[in-house]
């Protein structure tokens, strides 16, 4: 059947000669503050994110207090113990990163965002910024709570010469974990699927792989590299011999590389996929 044009009354004839302003890259950049504000409203208005923050602090404080109280066969100090819970904080940060995107996809607000902001990279940039910020907040909250927990547990402060450096590396780890979660969330687009993927890989698969792979290879696994940023010495999956250990900067590049790839793939899929 051929198309049929609907009759147009005089008012619409005037409207049909109107030309609408088109968007430029400068307009996209100008839109970024508004999109950031929108993301802040979204993240701060949900109880789930407040719960994650609260949980991070509680777990951080508890882990440090438990180590201080229950580990008696070696002398621990606050400056060593305060970073322990960051391993778990990074898990919480990656979950929060997943939810930044996947909950929007599941509840349909992603479609609303994409109709309002056609430049999808602006949305990615804003969400990445929020993920980094939230990851930093979670990292800081976890470390402060751990400091307090260790103090309550009766530990001495110890040498503080490496505390600032360890704190900064730890914050980088939690920030990158949140962005990794965001990237995985953008790829999988399903909250439980993305979170399961991350947790199973990080807590099970990598631990199994380190049993079979040599340290020269396993040091390049994402969570092995990421957790090594914390500089926690000991046996187990994170232990490396001096000969094969990467520097913290190298660990950051490895973990950051995986994060960047996840974010890049997620962004490509955001552009290519239809959104319902």
């Amino acid at each position: 059947m051929t198309s049929t044009t609907v009759a147009i009354p005089s008012t619409a004839t005037r409207a049909s000669t109107k030309q609408l302003a088109t968007r430029s890259t400068a307009d996209d950049l100008k839109a970024l503050p508004g999109v950031l504000k929108s993301e802040w409203i979204k993240i701060s208005s949900l109880r789930a994110n407040k719960a994650i923050l609260g949980l991070t602090a509680v777990v951080g404080g508890f882990v440090a207090w438990a180590v201080a109280t229950l580990v008696t066969d070696e002398v621990q100090t606050i400056s060593e113990v305060f970073i322990f819970s960051t391993v778990l904080t990074a898990v919480f940060a990656s979950v929060a990163g997943v939810l930044l995107f996947s909950s929007e996809a599941q509840h349909g607000t992603l479609a609303t965002a994409l109709t309002a902001q056609s430049a999808r990279w602006v949305i990615v940039a804003a969400k990445t910024t929020m993920a980094i910020a939230f990851g930093l907040v979670l990292g800081a909250a976890g470390m402060v709570a751990s400091f307090g927990g260790a103090l309550l547990g009766g530990l001495e402060l110890g040498s503080t010469s490496m505390m600032v450096t360890t704190t900064l590396w730890g914050l980088l780890f939690t920030a990158l974990s949140a962005v990794l979660g965001l990237g995985i969330g953008m790829i999988v687009r399903h909250s439980s699927g993305a979170i399961s993927t991350l947790l199973v890989w990080g807590l099970v698969v990598e631990n199994l792989l380190t049993l079979f792979l040599s340290e020269r290879i396993s040091r390049f696994l994402p969570f092995v590299a990421g957790n090594n940023l914390l500089g926690i010495e000991g046996e187990g999956a994170f232990a490396e011999s001096a000969a094969t250990a990467l520097t913290r900067a190298q660990d950051a590049l490895v973990f950051g590389g995986y994060t960047a790839v996840a974010l890049a793939v997620g962004t490509i899929l955001l552009y290519r996929r239809d959104t319902n």
Partner: protein
């Protein structure tokens, strides 16, 4: 004006939308109707850039949706009233949407009042009824004070008072020069306020005409009851009037009750009942889309 040109979309081997082209005029309410699976939702998603067409394009006053400087100020759309996080309050939902489009936070309060949800502003959307969600979704579409409204089944879940409010609102919107494009299964409701219709079936455009023009496609029928059905049928046949006979009742096409009454009187045939049935929009649309209906009751 909105110009839809040659929109086509495949999902794998299934053709969801095929070469759809039509214009939507400003200052009028255009209904978008068709059976389930006709391609209405897919077409509307392509109109707001959520779904990429395999070919074709949609332009708003000559500009593609994805090239609009601030889409929310041109097009307000509601494609699914469930598009809201259940854990977020109505106010925060709208504040986030307003910020996304660079609009002041005050607009959230204004549109909440406009749709009658100001008292529920602080409630989480998860506790909303479907009707409240529809209103909140419409509020989101109105944030940018757009000149075009694209609505997919906006009456779903609304009570009769809400449907009347929506009908009045959309009619007023069009009368002020706005463009309204609304899909609905409530044909009776659409017929009360739609000026034009775009009818689709099986992913194809079947008609894009005024409501009156589509209604006129179906014939008026005359129902007659008489104790002399065979005699009357013979008289009518001699005048070229088609009749289907069932017992003492005849259903006639291509005539009027005045003509039938005169013929019966002239032939001395007694009539018990004589009724003229004007075609309804629903009848016309069902006739139009019958061949394209994917899911039909037995």
């Amino acid at each position: 004006m909105i110009t839809v040109s040659g929109l086509t979309k495949h999902y794998g081997k299934r053709l969801a939308v095929h070469d759809m082209s039509f214009d939507i005029a400003a200052g009028r309410v255009t209904g978008f109707v068709g059976p389930n699976g006709a391609g209405k939702s897919t077409t509307m998603r392509m109109m707001v850039g959520l779904t990429r067409p395999d070919s074709g394009e949609v332009r708003y006053h000559g500009t593609r949706y994805t090239e609009l400087k601030n889409p929310a100020r041109v097009v307000g759309s509601v494609l699914d009233a469930r598009c809201m996080h259940p854990g977020r309050t109505a106010r925060n939902h709208l504040r986030a949407a307003a910020a996304l489009s660079g609009l002041p936070a005050q607009r959230a309060e204004e549109v909440l009042a406009e749709v009658g949800l100001e008292t529920a502003a602080g409630q989480r959307a998860g506790g909303f009824s479907l009707g409240m969600r529809q209103r909140l979704a419409l509020a989101g579409a109105l944030l940018g004070n757009p000149e075009v409204l694209l609505l997919d089944e906006p009456s779903n879940g609304l009570d009769p008072d809400g449907i009347r409010w929506l009908r009045t609102y959309l009619s007023d919107f069009a009368q002020r020069g706005g463009t309204v494009f609304v899909s609905s299964h409530l044909i009776g409701e659409l017929s009360m306020f739609a000026d034009d219709l775009v009818v689709v079936g099986g992913g194809r455009l079947l008609a894009a005409e005024s409501v009156e023009s589509i209604t006129a496609r179906s014939e008026t029928t005359v129902t007659v009851e008489t104790p002399q059905p065979a005699e009357l049928a013979a008289v009518l046949a001699s005048q070229g009037v088609r009749a289907s006979v069932s017992g003492n009742r005849l259903v006639l096409r291509g005539t009027s009750k005045a003509v039938v009454s005169q013929l019966a009187y002239d032939s001395g045939i007694r009539l018990v009942e004589l009724t003229e049935n004007s075609p309804s929009l629903e009848d016309s649309l069902l006739d139009l889309t019958r061949a394209s209906t994917e899911f039909a009751a037995a």
